[in-house]
């Protein structure tokens, strides 16, 4: 197995490292720890966090890429060392894990849980005659001898998934309760009573309840997805459920990396403008007003058009389609960052303007501390909460923006799985009769769940960090 690290993979890992580093830093500083404790105490926050965790886990699994080794080939000279050959296809751990979903490709559209194709075909029957009918699917419901048993089969499979999900949930719950009981030296039943009545300090009941819903849904969907296409198949017969899951990574990458790539510029310029004032302030203000004056969509469109021209003329620089799509995704994050850093920059400038008059900053300056030492030691740590809030608040907007941009064809690469691409390719099918609705429904459903969880979480984070900013947008 040969690991492949794409550009966005590397940045996601970097982001992960920063997040862990920040968590360690925050744990040692009370002014950062206290708001997070408030977030953890909020029921809405915990529920949203559990949902987000599921999304993030799938996204992370989909971020570890590798190429499978090809079967060793016999060479002419025995004993000679053969360099291992690797398949050209770049896979992720998620691809490998969900290979039953990925590999079972039908011919074209089929409805959710269908056993037959959505369009008629000429079928040669056993006696040699040809009729036009809906053929059986190659994979969906193949195990059924008689498609009429489908209802019971679905019911049975779902029940099995439900039981499995509940068992896993029970084990996790037991583990949580047991460790709580251990730490506080209480009996298991006492802890159970507390959680059930929601008298615990952290809202464990909400968290475990959400976990139960997510696990049951996941296990039921998983059990059914092995037998059916639970969300149907698209035009080329790919499983829509798989596509929707794959799109999670794209959404998460756009939502997080965009903010990550714009952070250094926004933070540095923002606090410098506020701290130094004078001509530095003028230049930086000019810079962001100019960038802001260009309509965001047009700037993105212009940049993506230019990227397309560049890629068309330098096609040989990209080893594979995946790499090319990945670079386009990164570029999209960059350009989205360019259009969205100005808001944060302005906020930070305002905050730095206030902070520079603070006593401790004045004292530092009077004692001869250098400008950049003051910026790094006194200003930066005190604006971190604004950065934090912006990062969380921007996330959902960016996920939604991806869908719109892909619709205008200036979003991610058309070969990349994303909710925007799913909607874009499915929207014309609404004109068909009967309607092909499942691609759209799946994309909207997955996007809605993620964005709703992110919005709820963002509200909690904002309220916890800065009650004054409540309702800032």
């Amino acid at each position: 197995m040969m690991p492949v690290i794409l550009w966005t993979d590397a940045l996601v890992f970097l982001l992960l490292a920063i997040a862990v580093g920040f968590a360690l830093y925050a744990a040692r500083h009370e002014h950062l720890r206290a708001p997070w404790r408030r977030v953890a105490r909020s029921r809405v926050g915990m529920g949203a966090l559990v949902v987000l965790t599921f999304y993030v886990l799938i996204g992370l699994l989909d971020t570890i890429h590798f190429r499978l080794p090809l079967p060793a080939q016999a060479t002419g000279t025995p004993g000679a060392a053969v360099p291992r050959q690797f398949a050209p296809e770049v896979l992720s751990v998620f691809d490998y894990w969900a290979r039953p979903l990925r590999e079972r490709q039908e011919k074209t559209y089929s409805a959710p849980f269908a056993t037959h194709l959505f369009v008629k075909e000429a079928i040669t029957q056993a006696d040699g005659s040809v009729v036009r009918d809906y053929p059986r699917l190659q994979y969906g419901g193949r195990h059924l001898k008689d498609p009429d048993q489908r209802g019971w089969d679905i019911f049975g499979t779902a029940l099995r998934g439900l039981t499995e999900g509940l068992i896993v949930w029970g084990l996790i719950t037991l583990q949580v309760l047991w460790s709580m009981a251990q730490r506080r030296g209480l009996a298991l039943s006492a802890v159970y009573e507390e959680v059930r009545a929601s008298r615990t300090e952290l809202p464990w009941r909400t968290a475990l309840g959400t976990l139960a819903v997510m696990l049951v849904l996941g296990f039921v969907a998983g059990a059914l997805a092995l037998k059916y296409h639970i969300l149907g198949t698209d035009k080329v017969g790919e499983d829509v459920f798989f596509q929707a899951l794959k799109s999670i990574r794209t959404g998460l990458v756009i939502g997080t990396l965009t903010t990550l790539v714009m952070l250094p510029a926004a933070v540095l310029l923002g606090i410098m403008a506020g701290y130094f004032r004078g001509w530095v302030d003028d230049v930086i203000q000019y810079l962001y007003t100019t960038l802001n004056a260009i309509p965001g969509v047009l700037l993105i469109a212009a940049a993506i058009l230019m990227l397309q021209v560049y890629m068309a003329n330098n096609a040989d620089q990209f080893e594979s389609l995946v790499e090319r799509a990945d670079l386009r995704l990164l570029f999209l994050c960059l350009i989205l960052g360019v259009t969205s850093w100005t808001g944060l920059c302005r906020l930070l400038r305002g905050e730095a303007l206030k902070l520079r008059e603070a006593d401790y900053v004045q004292a530092g300056a009077a004692l001869g501390v250098g400008h950049f030492a003051i910026l790094g030691r006194h200003i930066l740590p005190n604006v971190l909460h604004i950065v934090m809030i912006t990062l969380v608040l921007d996330f959902s907007g960016l996920v939604l923006a991806e869908a719109v941009l892909s619709y205008v064809n200036i979003g991610v690469d058309p070969t990349m799985n994303s909710w925007g691409n799913m909607i874009n390719s499915a929207r014309l099918e609404l004109a068909r009769d009967p309607v092909v609705w499942w691609s759209l429904a799946a994309a909207f459903l997955f996007m809605f769940t993620l964005v709703l969880a992110a919005n709820l979480f963002a509200d909690v984070v904002r309220d916890a960090f800065d009650p004054r900013l409540r309702g800032a947008r």
């Binding site: 309509p295 047009l298 469109a301 230019m306 068309a312 003329n313 719109v404 205008v408 964005v451 947008r473």
Partner: protein
């Protein structure tokens, strides 16, 4: 006041120059006109003659910044930068890459854009403000809580969903209005209903939430308590005192977007087939017509700056405490 406006207009000049330079760099320096021609004419098998004639037709065969071959002033004016970028300052947009007059197109397509954007703004404003007042009237009850949850959910739904859902429900299932298209004159109304409804509904989530926080902020102020202590009814307090004072942020928030209404909405217009500036831009993007994109970038920047200026002026008009200098 007029001195202030004049100074602000002068401030706008360097910003517009910056925008112009940026687009110039993006469109002509990072990618040479040769590459654009190759992209437009098909990628691989293009003869050099075809490229140079494509460039000549559109005036892209001139030097970028300085024309050494020309005489006198033409050394500067007979260049791509002057012909294509500097002329934008006089709102001379030139012709698009397929030979149409951009200025004429913009003046024609402006009206359908406005026909959508203005009703969406007005309907949305009226609806959102009344709904927000209603929610604030019932603040700190379960109705308030439920409404907020609903608003967050509505905010989390993609705008594309509202459009596709609206088209599907009203046009395909109930056959109430045409799915898309546009007509001139009064007949246009039936094509406008659906986009306006969809646009208004799509804005409810974030709009009502924003107004709700505005009103809640006002409600907790001292003058409201005084008004209540005087014995005014809650309804009178809300409509006369709270709404009146909250009008300042509402008004300035509206004024800043007013000029940008001209640009139209990219997504709505292209979904509903409305020949406004939004779909003009989208078509230009998908046809890779750089001249139009450049013109729209400049127009957008001008309108944005105009919006900022109008906001500042409107502050002085509605709030006597603000003095411009």
């Amino acid at each position: 006041m007029s001195a202030y406006i004049l100074r602000r207009l002068l401030y706008a000049v360097p910003i517009l120059i910056g925008v112009n330079l940026l687009t110039f760099v993006l469109f002509f320096v990072l990618n040479s006109p040769d590459e654009m021609a190759r992209m437009q004419l098909g990628e691989k098998r293009v003869t050099a003659a075809a490229i140079s004639s494509w460039k000549q037709e559109r005036g892209y065969d001139k030097p970028l910044l300085y024309n050494a071959a020309a005489q006198g002033l033409a050394k500067v004016t007979d260049t791509i930068f002057f012909q294509r970028s500097v002329k934008l300052f006089a709102f001379d947009f030139g012709s698009s890459d397929d030979g149409r007059d951009i200025g004429y197109d913009i003046s024609q397509r402006m009206w359908p854009s406005l026909a959508i954007a203005v009703p969406v703004l007005l309907v949305g404003l009226a609806f959102n403000i009344s709904l927000a007042l209603f929610i604030v009237f019932f603040r700190a009850t379960y109705l308030d809580l439920g409404a907020v949850v609903l608003l967050v959910a509505m905010m989390s739904i993609s705008g594309l969903f509202y459009i596709i859902g609206g088209q599907f429900l009203l046009s395909k299932v109930f056959h109430l209005v045409p799915i898309s298209g546009y007509d001139t004159g009064v007949e246009a109304w039936k094509f406008l209903i659906l986009p306006v409804i969809v646009g208004a509904i799509g804005g409810i989530g974030s709009g009502v939430r924003w107004y709700r926080t505005l009103f809640l902020e006002e409600v907790s102020k001292d003058y409201v308590r005084t008004a209540r202590a005087k014995g005014l009814s809650e309804r009178r307090v809300l409509f006369r005192h709270v709404l009146g004072n909250a009008m300042i942020p509402i008004l300035t928030g509206v004024v800043v977007v007013l000029p940008l209404l001209f640009m139209g909405s990219l997504i709505t217009e292209s979904f509903f087939g409305i020949p406004g500036l939004g779909s003009y831009t989208i078509d230009a993007i998908s046809n890779q017509d750089f001249a139009i994109v450049r013109a729209m970038v400049f127009l957008g920047a001008v309108l944005y700056i105009l919006g900022l200026l109008l906001t500042d002026i409107s502050y002085t008009l509605v709030d006597p405490r603000v003095r411009l200098q």
